[in-house]
């Protein structure tokens, strides 16, 4: 054994990790090498000084203690576990029923009603084109004008048999109403045009849904 090997074994000397042959080599080298004798003595001295000068302390606060399961085998522990498991199962089953049955509650002034099962989905709105909307509006305006015209014509026919003063008064009133109808027609056309503009802008931005709630508020002029 050389000095390097001896000094490596110094630290294992007390731990009884050396084999019998190694201990014999170690002792033989120790007998014949003064510098290794000094090294061994110094290491033992340093070790003892360190131990003596740096005593151990007790920790000041209590250390971690895991939660005790001392009652794990008792009947109370088992009952508690069963109750807990059962309540979890009941809750899960209730949630599953709610999802499957989809109950709905409806209330009007006279009765409260419950319904189960999937209610039919609302009828899907048919897509409406701009041309259709314009046609509907035009039809509605033309219908209103036609009704009013017919009413006025009926009134003029009924008054054609009456004498002069009444006839002239009715004619004047009819003239005024005719003017008012024209104004109404113009206003309605203006609204139709505004709706058309809105629909055009909505179609140019398809990401925004078109619906009655998103229509801009337009006051008739």
């Amino acid at each position: 054994m050389d000095c390097e090997g001896f000094r490596e074994h110094i630290f294992e000397q007390k731990t009884k990790k050396l084999s019998t042959a190694e201990i014999k080599d170690f002792d033989a080298h120790h007998q014949n090498c003064p510098s290794c004798q000094d090294a061994l003595r110094d290491w033992q001295k340093i070790e003892s000084f360190l131990r003596a000068s740096w005593p151990s302390e007790d920790p000041q606060i209590p250390f971690f203690v895991p939660p005790s399961r001392a009652h794990q085998g008792s009947w109370l522990y088992n009952v508690r576990n069963w109750v807990s498991a059962a309540s979890t199962a009941v809750l899960a089953a209730s949630l599953l029923l709610v999802v499957l049955l989809r109950p709905s509650v409806q209330y009007n002034r006279h009765e409260l009603s419950f319904r189960f099962g999937q209610t039919g989905p609302p009828a899907e709105a048919q897509p409406v084109s701009q041309v259709q909307v314009e046609a509907w509006a035009r039809n509605a305006v033309e219908q209103a004008v036609a009704q009013e015209t017919a009413r006025l014509q009926a009134a003029s026919h009924s008054m054609s048999d009456s004498p002069g003063v009444e006839e002239s008064r009715h004619l004047a009133r009819m003239g005024v109403e005719l003017e008012m109808l024209k104004e109404t027609e113009a206003s309605l056309w203006q609204q139709v045009q505004q709706h058309g503009l809105y629909l055009q802008s909505a179609w140019q931005r398809p990401s925004q849904p078109i619906g009655p709630n998103r229509a801009p508020s337009m006051s008739p002029q």
Partner: protein, 186 residues
């Protein structure tokens, strides 16, 4: 003899893994003082040593099922502590008023006389001046008596490297002590 004295670490670990959690109390009772003092000497800060010990014990409890060699519980626990200490050292820190450093550590005033307060401070100072790797191995070997194969687990390092590190640390301590010793005849 109490249960903690008769049962090995391996038996206690197996009991904890089998659901008997109070067996971990015995492991804590067996190792907490050594762990705390190892970290105290390593950090020279009581508060930090307490925190790291607590964290190491908690982690060992939570990860106990990952322990392969159940008879090596102590090495594994100390390895967790060393890793925590190294992580803590890497973290940038601000000085904290509440921390309690060891008294007089680093002061090397006065002549070196064995058995005196000066000797204590000198030795502590010499250990604190070692590199972190040397300090870890000296503390584990001198104060806790770990074998090289156990220290290899704790420090995650080959045994041959540990032996050469311990030799170098020993030479540094010896040189430091020689420089502190009063000249012969004084």
């Amino acid at each position: 003899m109490t249960q903690a004295e008769t049962e090995t670490d391996q038996q206690l670990v197996e009991q904890v893994l089998g659901g008997r959690n109070e067996a971990f109390n015995l492991l804590v009772w067996r190792w907490q003082r050594q762990l705390y003092n190892f970290l105290l000497r390593l950090t020279a800060d009581r508060e930090l040593a307490q925190d790291l010990s607590q964290e190491a014990l908690l982690r060992s409890y939570l990860r106990l099922k990952d322990l392969r060699n159940k008879e090596k519980f102590a090495s594994w626990l100390f390895r967790i502590a060393v890793n925590l200490y190294r992580s803590d050292r890497r973290r940038p820190k601000l000085p904290i008023e509440g921390s309690v450093p060891l008294d007089g550590l680093g002061a090397t005033s006065g002549p070196f006389r064995p058995g005196t307060r000066e000797m204590q401070l000198t030795l502590r100072s010499l250990v604190s001046r070692l590199t972190q790797e040397h300090r870890e191995i000296v503390l584990l070997r001198v104060f806790h008596g770990f074998q090289f194969d156990e220290m290899a687990i704790i420090l995650d390092c080959p045994v041959s490297t540990l032996k050469s590190r311990l030799c170098r640390a020993f030479e540094e301590l010896r040189a430091g002590l020689e420089s502190q010793e009063p000249p012969a005849g004084s």
